[in-house]
C-alpha cells in the first residue's frame, strides 16, 4: 500500500475495522425491559435488557420478514419483534410465534445471529469480529477499582472522525507530546507487547497547577478497544478508555476517571486539575486526528516512539482468518 500522491484520501479506506471487545454503551443507558439499537462497526447491534437485568445482543433484522428489531419490545427475558410478534431469546432462538401451531426446531435453536455481550464497571461491551469468530481473549477489567473502593470522578466521550487505530497510536507518538501538549521533552519509556495486550510505562514531566513535576504513567491496552491508565504523581488517577469504531473513519472515544479513596481536599483539587489537563490534551489532539491521513510508510526518525512496533502488534487484530484457537470469554 502506498500513499496516494496529491490525493485528499486519508488512507482509512484501506484499513478495516479490528476485532475485539468494544464499548457500545454505558450500563445505565439500557434499563431493564428496554431495547436499544446501537450503530457501530458499520452496522447496528440490537441490545436489550431482560427483566432479570441480563443483557442480550443480536443482529438488527428479524429473520422472519425482515423488520428492524430495534423497534421491538421486551417480554420477560425475550425480545419481541413488532411486525408479527415472534419472540427471541438471547441465543437468537425463537420462543414464540403467536399464530403458528408449532415452533420449527431449527428456529427454536437459533436463527438470529447474536453478539457476545458483557458489562464491567458500568460499561457495556460487545465482541466484534467480521466473521463472527468467538472471543479470542476475555474482557479486561480494572480489579483495583472495586477491590480498593476507588471513586468515580468523571465521564467523558467524543465522536471523532478518525480510524480507531489512530487514537491509541497517539500514545506511542512520543514526539507530539512536546509539540502538541507542551510537556517537557520526550519521555523516558518502556514498551512491552504481550499477546493481545500492550503496556507502556512512561516517566515524564507533567504540567500541574504547581508547575512541572515528574510522574509515572502506566498504561495497559488489551485488544484494540480497551485501555487502563494509572497516573501517579501527587495524586493517583485511574483512567479507563474505550475506543469503538462506528465505521472505519469514525470512532467513539469514552473515558471514565476514578481516583484513590480518602483523598484530602487538596489532592482532590489536584485530581480535578489532572483530569482537566487530560481532557485538554485530547481536545488538542482531536483537530489533528480529524484532518490527518494514515501514512502506511511514515518517515520516522530518532526520537519518535515505537509507532511501528505498535502497528505490527495491531495488525493481529486484522487477521480475520487467524487459525489461532478461539477461547471462550471469561
Amino acid at each position: 500500500m502506498t500513499e496516494a500522491i496529491g490525493s485528499r484520501l486519508r488512507g482509512y479506506e484501506d484499513l478495516p475495522m479490528p476485532f475485539g471487545w468494544f464499548a457500545v454503551a454505558m450500563s445505565d443507558e439500557i434499563v431493564p425491559l428496554e431495547v436499544k439499537s446501537l450503530s457501530y462497526f458499520g452496522t447496528e447491534v440490537v441490545v436489550w435488557r431482560g427483566e432479570s437485568g441480563e443483557l442480550h445482543a443480536v443482529d438488527p433484522y428479524c429473520p422472519h420478514l425482515g423488520a428492524h428489531l430495534g423497534g421491538g419490545d421486551v417480554v420477560g427475558e425475550d425480545l419481541r419483534c413488532q411486525f408479527h410478534h415472534w419472540r427471541f431469546n438471547g441465543e437468537g432462538g425463537v420462543t414464540d410465534i403467536p399464530y403458528a401451531k408449532m415452533i420449527p426446531p431449527k428456529l427454536k435453536r437459533s436463527c438470529l445471529a447474536t453478539w457476545p455481550i458483557e458489562e464491567s464497571l458500568g460499561v457495556v461491551y460487545v465482541w466484534y469480529h467480521p466473521r463472527k469468530a468467538a472471543p479470542k481473549w476475555a474482557l479486561a477489567s480494572a480489579p483495583i477499582i472495586a477491590a480498593e473502593h476507588w471513586v468515580k470522578a468523571q465521564e467523558h466521550e467524543w465522536i471523532i472522525k478518525t480510524h480507531v487505530q489512530e487514537i491509541t497510536e497517539n500514545g506511542q507518538d512520543y514526539a507530539h507530546f512536546r509539540a502538541v501538549h507542551g510537556t517537557q521533552g520526550p519521555p523516558a519509556s518502556e514498551f512491552q507487547l504481550d499477546g493481545w495486550s500492550r503496556r507502556n510505562t512512561v516517566e515524564m514531566q507533567m504540567v500541574t497547577p504547581r508547575g512541572p513535576m515528574s510522574g509515572k504513567i502506566d498504561a495497559l491496552a488489551v485488544g484494540p478497544g480497551q485501555s487502563f491508565t494509572r497516573f501517579t504523581d501527587v495524586t493517583d488517577v485511574y483512567m479507563m478508555q474505550e475506543t469503538t469504531p462506528i465505521d472505519s473513519g469514525t470512532t467513539h472515544l469514552r473515558w471514565q476517571f476514578y481516583h484513590a479513596p480518602d483523598m484530602s481536599d487538596g489532592k482532590l483539587r489536584v485530581t480535578a486539575a489532572r483530569i482537566r489537563d487530560l481532557v485538554k490534551q485530547v481536545n488538542q489532539d482531536i483537530p489533528i486526528w480529524e484532518r490527518k491521513r494514515y501514512n502506511h510508510a511514515p518517515m520516522l526518525v530518532d526520537g519518535d516512539g515505537p509507532v511501528l512496533a505498535y502497528r505490527k502488534q495491531y495488525a493481529r487484530f486484522y487477521q480475520f482468518d487467524d487459525p489461532e484457537p478461539a477461547i471462550a470469554a471469561a
Binding site: M102, I103, P104, P105, K106, L107, C111
Partner: protein, 102 residues
C-alpha cells in the same frame, strides 16, 4: 416418470416428474399452493407427505434438521418433508399421501 399423489380429499392423482427434481415444488404448483410455505428451509412443515410402505428405502435418509422437524410434527412412519426429497429413477411409480393439515 409418473408418481401417484393422494391429496387431502383422498383423491389419487397422477403427477409427472423428472429425475433430479425436488418433490415439494411439484406438489405446490400441481396440487396445493399451501404446500411448501417456507420454500424448503425446513421451517414450516407444510410439505409433509407419507410414502406408501416399502418406498422409504428408495430415497436418501433424512438430515438431522429434517428428523427434528418430523419429530416436532409427530409424523407417522414413512413421513418425509417433500422439500427434502430429490427424485431419482428409483422412485418411478412411487405412491404418497399428502399429510392432513396439523
Amino acid at each position: 416418470m409418473e408418481l401417484t399423489v393422494v391429496d387431502r380429499d383422498g383423491t389419487a392423482r397422477a403427477l409427472q416428474a423428472k429425475s433430479g427434481e425436488v418433490l415439494m415444488p411439484l406438489l405446490r404448483d400441481g396440487i396445493d399452493v399451501a404446500i411448501g410455505i417456507c420454500g424448503g428451509v425446513i421451517s414450516c412443515g407444510t410439505c409433509l407427505v407419507i410414502l406408501d410402505e416399502g418406498w422409504s428405502g428408495h430415497v436418501a435418509s433424512p438430515s438431522d434438521d429434517e428428523t427434528d422437524m418430523l419429530e416436532a410434527l409427530d409424523a407417522p412412519p414413512g413421513a418425509r418433508l417433500a422439500c427434502q426429497l430429490t427424485l431419482s429413477d428409483a422412485v418411478a411409480g412411487l405412491r404418497l399421501t399428502i399429510a392432513p393439515e396439523a
